[in-house]
């Protein structure tokens, strides 16, 4: 049995987020800090997973340089958001911001929105603050903070790569439809998080 290479990659990419728990972000934490705990932190929240994957998907739709610029901007701004969370700087409606990121980025993918690069960068950077804030607020207070940070930055990057891999299906028309459908699912998921249905 033979599969087209893009299809296999797309399938593998789709399975990675599926492996994450359906539990929302920040539920079931407290298992201690460290690299593994930092790595699984973004993976255990479906709202985080969906938004991260959407960043990669949208980057593919926008093409170069957005395909690499967005995954470069996101972790840098996310880290600043993380610092805001650690120092306890007030940021209203963090969970709402995370849910909105899934809705907006998912819609951008679903509609194939061709935003200018600066606007895409500002949007992604804006939402990265909320994701970073949520992670930063839960950084361990012990000496393994560095490992925790390393873990969750790597996990975030891997989720972006997952989105880019899945987005590579968009080279063909059926694949393009599949990617847009994924964007719609992400947006709907965001609505579910926002309304508390999910």
């Amino acid at each position: 049995m033979r599969f087209a290479k893009p299809a296999c990659l797309g399938l593998a990419a789709a399975l990675v987020p599926a492996l994450s728990s359906v539990a929302r972000a920040h539920v079931g934490e407290g298992a201690g800090g460290g690299l593994i705990s930092g790595f699984v932190h973004p993976l255990l929240g479906a709202d985080h997973v969906m938004a991260m994957v959407a960043v990669g998907l949208w980057g593919v739709f926008l093409g170069r340089p957005a395909i690499w610029l967005l995954p470069v901007i996101f972790p840098l701004v996310m880290a600043l958001g993380g610092v805001m969370g650690m120092v306890g700087m007030p940021l209203p409606s963090v969970e709402t911001g995370i849910a909105l990121s899934a809705i907006v980025l998912g819609l951008c993918v679903a509609l194939g929105a061709r935003a200018p690069l600066w606007l895409a960068a500002v949007l992604v950077g804006f939402f990265a603050i909320f994701h970073g804030y949520a992670h930063g607020a839960e950084m361990p207070g012990e000496a393994d903070a560095l490992s925790f940070a390393l873990g969750f930055v790597i996990a975030t990057g891997v989720l972006h790569l997952t989105g880019i891999l899945f987005g590579s299906l968009a080279r063909t028309e059926p694949g393009r439809l599949a990617v847009r459908a994924a964007g719609a699912v992400i947006a709907l998921g965001g609505v579910g998080f926002l309304t508390g249905v999910v």
Partner: protein, 198 residues
């Protein structure tokens, strides 16, 4: 693009279990191997090593020829100084991450730097790793063996990394280096933020 990004992710994910067990198994590895593996298994040192390697490699072969000996020399100097001085516990980690942040900033910006600046940053990174890796073994013989192994391990790692990076200068590879730089920078920002609230 896809291949280089997947490769980058795979390398970083493979580092996860290694870094997670840093120090845990080092003592059992013996004086030589604990020194050899120390820069690869301690997160701050590994990030510094990766960032300086990317930084030297992306600045061209001539930069590597200057930077690598300076780096290795300063690792030795740091090991010697660290054995003589009594430094605050977190200072070497802070120095290593500061070097990593500066180097990765240059990688993200994609600008070639003057050779004097290259040497200073490579030396600073090497010094930080040396200070952080000062062996705590009993007896001067074991300490010397561990120190020599640390110089060999970090020197070999930086040679391999810079040789690889300077030989892979296609556009897609350079994008991968920038993404990796942004991850390293994000981890450094988070660590400094965490440090600020301690």
């Amino acid at each position: 693009m896809r291949r280089s990004l997947v490769g980058l992710a795979a390398v970083l994910v493979l580092l996860v279990p290694g870094a997670a067990s840093a120090h845990g198994n080092l003592a059992a590895a013996g004086a030589f191997y604990s020194g050899l593996l120390h820069p690869l298994l301690v997160p701050a040192e590994l990030l510094c090593l990766l960032a300086v390697g990317l930084y030297l490699g992306t600045n061209g072969r001539h930069a590597s020829q200057i930077g690598v000996p300076v780096f290795a020399g300063f690792v030795a100097a740091g090991l010697a100084l660290g054995g003589l001085l009594s430094l605050p516990v977190r200072l070497p980690t802070i120095m290593a991450l500061a070097a990593a942040a500066l180097a990765s900033l240059s990688v993200i910006a994609g600008k070639r730097l003057p050779h004097a600046l290259l040497a200073v940053l490579a030396g600073f990174g090497g010094l930080a790793i040396g200070l952080d890796a000062v062996p705590d073994a009993d007896g001067w013989g074991d300490r010397l063996l561990t120190s020599v192994a640390t110089v060999i391990g970090s020197g070999a790692a930086i040679v391999i990394l810079t040789a690889f990076v300077s030989s892979q200068q296609r556009e897609l590879s350079r994008i991968g280096y920038r993404v990796a730089g942004s991850w390293i920078m994000a981890v450094a920002i988070l660590y400094f933020g965490w440090l600020a609230v301690q």
